[in-house]
């Protein structure tokens, strides 16, 4: 291959055109519509300034709760998936019988559609005939049998738990790849020096896995901020408004024909994701993106 071969700059225009037309333009237009009264009721669209943003941040509506739930979901699921995924990754890089089988079983949930997972868990968590409560009652733990998806104090935890179950295998797989890329010589040297398993993990695995953990954190945060399907399939934001997140709110607004408020919510989340993404990528580039 000729390393000096240069392609003309205009080769980029095709891809750039598609990117601008299909991504940049709709995004900018979406943000533009946030400042209008666009709705199903009228074909005329008028500029209304910041009125939609005032509505979204007003205490009279549930949008603040949706935003709060979205951030809570993002933080909890990101932490839990990383911690559990890391534990599984460490465990499944040891010499374990049927290693690939265990890895496949752990990875399996993430290949299922979120809607299918939602339907399955809706049945499993049914308070009356669901598998979980039936099993709890069968072993005499009746007190632990709860209304998992219909009690407003428990429902959001249940939704997060299902999402963690679904996503931890994916994180585990990325972290397994990260762990396997660490040279075994570090562990051999530590063993010669008398280091135990915890010390090896604390002083070798964890520091060298930090760049990979940064990647999984970025992926989880972005996923968490735009979560919709799992919540929609499990509870549709209910009971009441207990499990509403931002994108179930967007869906609801479009369903009610209030397109401008829907695009306002989307625009807010786009800005949040841009800010979060910017700082995370900056951290990756500056922090330890090059190591591993």
């Amino acid at each position: 291959m000729n390393k000096n071969r240069m392609y003309p700059t205009w080769f980029i225009f095709g891809a750039l055109l598609l990117y601008v037309v299909l991504y940049v333009l709709p995004s900018v237009m979406g943000i533009g519509y946030s400042f209008t009264d666009w709705s199903v009721y009228s074909q005329d669209v008028h500029f209304v300034g910041l009125k939609n943003f005032q509505t979204v941040f007003s205490a009279d509506y549930n949008y603040n709760r949706m935003l709060g739930n979205t951030f809570l979901f993002t933080i909890v699921t990101t932490l839990a998936k990383n911690v559990i995924g890391l534990a599984l990754a460490v465990l499944l890089t040891k010499k374990v019988k049927l290693l690939n089988f265990h890895r496949a079983v752990m990875y399996l949930p993430c290949v299922l559609s979120a809607l299918i997972v939602g339907m399955i868990f809706k049945a499993v968590l049914n308070p009356k005939i669901g598998l979980l409560n039936t099993a709890l009652r069968a072993i005499g733990l009746d007190a632990l049998a709860k209304n998992w998806l219909t009690d407003s104090k428990i429902a959001f935890n249940s939704v997060m738990a299902v999402d963690i179950w679904k996503g931890m295998g994916y994180i585990m797989t990325i972290l397994i790849a990260g762990i396997m890329s660490i040279s075994p010589t570090y562990y051999e040297a530590a063993e010669i020096d008398g280091g135990n398993a915890w010390q090896c993990f604390r002083h070798i695995t964890l520091p060298l896995l930090t760049p990979t953990l940064t990647v999984t954190t970025v992926l989880n945060v972005i996923y968490g901020l735009k979560v919709f399907d799992t919540v929609y399939a499990l509870t549709n934001g209910g009971p009441g408004y207990a499990t509403e997140v931002l994108y179930t709110g967007v869906y609801k607004e479009f369903g009610l024909g209030r397109y401008a408020v829907g695009t306002t919510l989307s625009s807010i989340m786009t800005v949040v994701m841009l800010i979060v993404g910017y700082f995370m990528i900056k951290h990756m580039v500056q922090g330890g993106g090059g190591e591993a």
Binding site: Y41, P239, G240, A242, G255, L256, R258
Partner: protein, 421 residues
């Protein structure tokens, strides 16, 4: 060569003429709005007129958005189905612009006056009713249970509570209610707009003129409080939050529950699913919260409209005229199990004695609030969520009613309703 070209040209012209003869009209409707019997009539219509009807059936949860987008983009089908309602057809459908005036059609004067009022604007008829709108949502009860416990049909809230207590004491769940579907439990509130209107006459008009809100109505608050009381007293059982309405027939037939809110197609439905349970064992009474004894009528249902931008308006009018012929309406009544009648003066109803008796027992009629009050029906699912929040103790009755008022105000503002602007 010239001969070949001439033959090709002739063939092309013949082909074009054949397409022109066989006009196709498109008809878009939500799931369950076009019955098999109507499609059979559509085939008969094609045989008689040569006009083919292309039925486009859309899943119900997507339909409204799709219809609105098609109307707003000017790309609607020749005929479109939509829920009627004297307010919604103006604020949402803008029928004066988007639909064809059907007042001059021969069948227009045969439309039942109540249905006519809900499908017309300023006396001009824009739609043709599709379904039986005579059925009302009422409490369907198991007569055997009532007979066994010596219970009679309650006529006020206290009697209703006594009935529920007796059933509960016998080990049954008094009422099968399904909150998880999101659309059913708010029937206790919206359908009983008739009770609000009875206790506070003129409320609907004041709500429509933005002279008061639901939060200003003591009866509306009492309604919500009584719904919550039913739940707190255990009359809806332990599983009302996860119940699905599809299991209502099973819950009644199995004897697990004694009552549910259903319409008059329920006896047929329960008998079809559980043949050992006779349809006659189901009786009805109006929901007696706030001591209601007014029959909650809703003369609104799915309706056919002809799109004003259609290129086939005459063909579409022919189809509507064909459907409205008395023998074809009667064919629909006779072949669609859930139709006891249709809102036309030319048909003969097929009510059972039980259902006729139920209607006759309540001479006072009122129109439900999702029809008579603006901006209630479009937020049906939201009202369900609000009510759920109250039932779970996450929200107060006052908050719920204020939120409904706020959502109505938002929709009114978007619709540039002069009463709100």
């Amino acid at each position: 060569m010239k001969r070949i070209l001439a033959c090709l040209l002739a063939a092309l012209l013949l082909g074009t003429a054949a397409v022109a003869e066989g006009t196709t009209i498109t008809y878009m409707a939500s799931q369950d709005w076009v019955q098999d019997a109507e499609m059979e009539l559509g085939e008969k219509f094609e045989q008689e007129t040569g006009i083919h009807v292309d039925y486009q059936i859309i899943p119900s949860d997507q339909y409204n958005n799709m219809l609105m987008n098609k109307l707003n983009s000017g790309e609607c089908t020749d005929i479109f189905g939509s829920q009627a309602g004297q307010f919604d057809i103006v604020t949402q459908l803008n029928v004066e612009k988007n639909a064809v005036d059907l007042s001059g059609e021969a069948w227009a004067e045969t439309v039942d006056p109540l249905a006519f009022a809900e499908t017309s604007v300023d006396g001009k008829l824009y739609g043709q009713p599709v379904q039986d709108v005579s059925a009302v949502w009422a409490v369907a009860y198991n007569k055997q249970v009532f007979d066994k416990l010596g219970l009679s049909v309650p006529t006020n809230y206290e009697e209703f509570k006594a009935v529920c207590e007796a059933i509960k004491a016998d080990g049954m769940t008094p009422i099968y209610e399904a909150v998880s579907d999101g659309w059913h439990h708010q029937l206790w509130f919206c359908e009983l707009g008739v009770a609000i209107e009875h206790a506070e006459p003129g409320t609907a008009e004041k709500l429509n003129n933005n002279e008061m809100g639901f939060a200003d109505s003591a009866t509306a608050a009492q309604l919500v409080d009584q719904i919550k009381e039913m739940v707190d007293l255990g009359y809806w059982g332990d599983d009302y939050m996860s119940n699905e309405y599809a299991n209502a027939a099973k819950a009644i037939a199995s004897g697990e529950c004694a009552m549910t809110v259903a319409n008059q197609g329920f006896p047929t439905e329960i008998n079809a699913a559980f043949p050992d349970f006779p349809a006659e064992d189901i009786g009805f009474f109006v929901m007696p919260l706030c001591d209601n004894q007014v029959l909650n009528m809703n003369p609104v249902g799915p309706t056919r409209f002809i799109y004003s931008g259609s290129a086939n308006i005459d063909a579409a009018k022919q189809y509507l005229a064909f459907i409205a012929e008395p023998e074809n309406l009667q064919y629909l009544i006779d072949n669609v199990p859930k139709f006891n009648t249709l809102p036309f003066t030319t048909v003969t109803d097929a009510y059972s004695d039980e259902i006729s008796g139920f209607y006759a027992a309540y001479p006072d009629h009122g129109t439900v609030y999702q029809t008579s009050v603006k901006y209630v029906n479009p937020q049906w699912m939201e009202i369900g969520k609000e009510l759920t929040a109250v039932l779970l103790g996450d929200e107060t009755t006052e908050q719920m009613l204020k939120n409904i008022d706020r959502n109505r105000a938002d929709q009114a503002a978007a619709a540039q309703d002069p009463a709100w602007n």
